[in-house]
Structures are given as structure tokens and as C-alpha cells.
């Protein structure tokens, strides 16, 4: 942490806030993955991790390297764009695979019946 000594206070506070928010969002997303009941509810948890958690940590990383090296470091944008473009595709494919398997395994009951709230 030698370079961080030269960090101005406003950058340190902004980076710290972004890191805390990003970490919390990542944790909440995976918590949703772990504690929700059915698969169709669980799939909504990681979306938080992917969008807000990743965005906060990427912006923090950009800000940190830009300030410490006093030049524009924005190559984290590449990861951001890539994740934003691929995460929806992954979510849709897993969802379709789940619905397809559900229909194949229980062909009598449709996929809709699984998600009725339990009495």
C-alpha cells in the first residue's frame, strides 16, 4: 500500500464508499442464491451481484488507479461492457434450460405450477 499514501482524501472516501457498497451488494446477491427456496426465485439473486456489485467495484478500481498513477486508467470498462453483454445471455440460457428440463421431467404438470405459493 505504498502508493495509497499519496491519495487525496476525497478519492479515498469515494473509493471506500464504492468498495463497501459493492461488497455488500455482492454479498446480498449470493445470500439470495443461498437462502431463497425455488430455483426460479434463486435466479434473481445473482443479478444484483452482476450489475451493481460489479459496477461499484469496477468504478472503484478505475478511480483508484487513475488517481494513484495520475493518468487515465479506464481499461476496466472492457470488463464492464463484457459482463453487461454476457450476463443477460447466461441468465436467459440457464432459465430456458431449467424450464425445458422441468417440462421434460414432469410432463404432466407445467412449469407454471411449480411456482405457486405454498399454502
Amino acid at each position: 500500500m505504498s502508493m495509497a499514501d499519496t491519495l487525496p482524501w476525497w478519492a479515498a472516501i469515494a473509493i471506500a464508499c464504492l468498495l463497501v457498497l459493492g461488497g455488500l451488494m455482492t454479498l446480498i446477491g449470493t445470500l439470495g442464491l443461498a437462502r431463497l427456496q425455488s430455483f426460479y426465485r434463486r435466479i434473481h439473486g445473482p443479478a444484483i451481484t452482476v450489475t451493481l456489485g460489479t459496477a461499484c467495484i469496477l468504478v472503484a478500481s478505475m478511480l483508484y488507479f487513475t488517481v494513484t498513477q495520475s493518468r487515465l486508467v479506464i481499461h476496466e470498462l472492457l470488463i464492464g461492457v463484457f459482463v453487461l453483454m454476457t450476463a443477460p445471455v447466461v441468465a436467459m440460457l440457464i432459465m430456458r434450460a431449467a424450464v425445458y428440463r422441468e417440462q421434460r421431467n414432469f410432463s404432466r404438470t407445467s412449469a407454471m405450477d411449480d411456482d405457486r405459493p405454498q399454502p
Binding site: 446480498i28 437462502r35 443479478a47 470498462l77 453487461l84 443477460p88 411456482d115
Partner: protein, 174 residues
């Protein structure tokens, strides 16, 4: 011009990616990146089944992206509140069906990316015959509200961006 540079947007973004990866603006990187930006779209042209997307109204696209960014952040907090505070059995997650008027394949791709990026909604499938979208909603309160939001806030701008009125009519007749 058209022959050597079939996709100017794709070429520009490839050059930008190359420069960002190398983190340099030296002439050598401009040359290499420029060569990539010229060659890759030519090689990739047979892979694009539906041809180039034509963005008719860039301003509407920017406004749509800004709106959905705000929506993503808002629903992030809404979904995390539900995950933290509510019992799992109380969450009313349902499939809903939304009839779509959008026909352009690029527009549908953009719509599915935006919907899937927003926490709380996942696109399941589009039925090919009736053009009905099957959507899974994490916590359904009001089905009509969702249908109207998707139709007016997302679908309408995408139709404006990607489809000409003529193409739209043809799609409906077909």
C-alpha cells in the same frame, strides 16, 4: 467505402477495445488496431444472419439506456430489500405473458439484454407463433403494471430506434 468498411460502428469499437487493452495511444497500436478493425468485420460478415443493425435515432437509444440504468439501480435495491427482509415463501414470483409488437431481431436482442440485466425480471422465451414474451418476475404485485411498463418504457423506444414504420407494417402483415 461500403465495401471496405461494412460496419463502421463495429470497426470503431474494435479499435477502441484494442487501444484500451494496450493502454496506449502510440502510432504502432493505432496501426495494428486499425488493421484489426478493417479485417475482422470483413471476416465476420458471413456470421451475421440478420445483417447490420441500423440505428435510426441515436438520441432515443441513449435516453433508453439511461432510463434502464436508473431502473437497474432502483430494482437492485428493491430486490436486495426483499432478499434481506422477507421470508422466502412470501415472495410472490410468477410467470407472466406479454404480447410484443417488436419484430426486429436486433431490437429483440436489445430488449432481452435490458430485461435480463434488471434484477427481478428474467426473460424466459418468446413464442415464435404468437409473439408472446414469457417473463419471470421475482415479486409480482400488479401484472398490468408490468405489461404497461415493458410496452411503453422499453418496447416503444426500441421500435423507434430500430424499425422504420414501413418495416413495422410489413412485419404485421407477414
Amino acid at each position: 467505402m461500403k465495401r471496405w468498411l461494412p460496419a463502421p460502428l463495429l470497426s470503431a469499437s474494435l479499435l477502441l477495445v484494442w487501444l484500451l487493452l494496450n493502454q496506449s495511444l502510440a502510432p504502432a497500436h493505432w496501426l495494428l488496431g486499425g488493421a484489426l478493425a478493417l479485417i475482422v468485420p470483413l471476416l465476420a460478415r458471413p456470421l451475421q444472419a440478420y445483417g447490420q443493425a441500423r440505428i435510426r435515432r441515436p438520441l432515443a437509444l441513449v435516453r433508453l439506456l439511461g432510463f434502464s440504468a436508473i431502473e437497474i439501480v432502483r430494482s437492485c435495491f428493491a430486490v436486495s430489500q426483499i432478499i434481506l427482509l422477507r421470508r422466502s415463501a412470501d415472495v410472490n414470483s410468477q410467470f407472466i405473458r406479454i404480447p410484443l409488437d417488436l419484430r426486429s431481431p436486433h431490437g429483440l436482442a436489445l430488449l432481452s439484454c435490458l430485461i435480463n440485466s434488471t434484477p427481478g425480471t428474467v426473460w424466459v422465451e418468446l413464442s415464435p407463433d404468437s409473439h408472446e414474451l414469457l417473463l419471470h418476475v421475482f415479486d409480482l404485485q400488479d401484472e398490468q403494471w408490468w405489461v404497461e411498463t415493458i410496452k411503453t418504457r422499453y418496447e416503444q423506444p426500441i421500435i423507434e430506434v430500430f424499425e422504420t414504420p414501413r418495416a413495422n407494417n410489413q412485419g404485421e402483415n407477414a
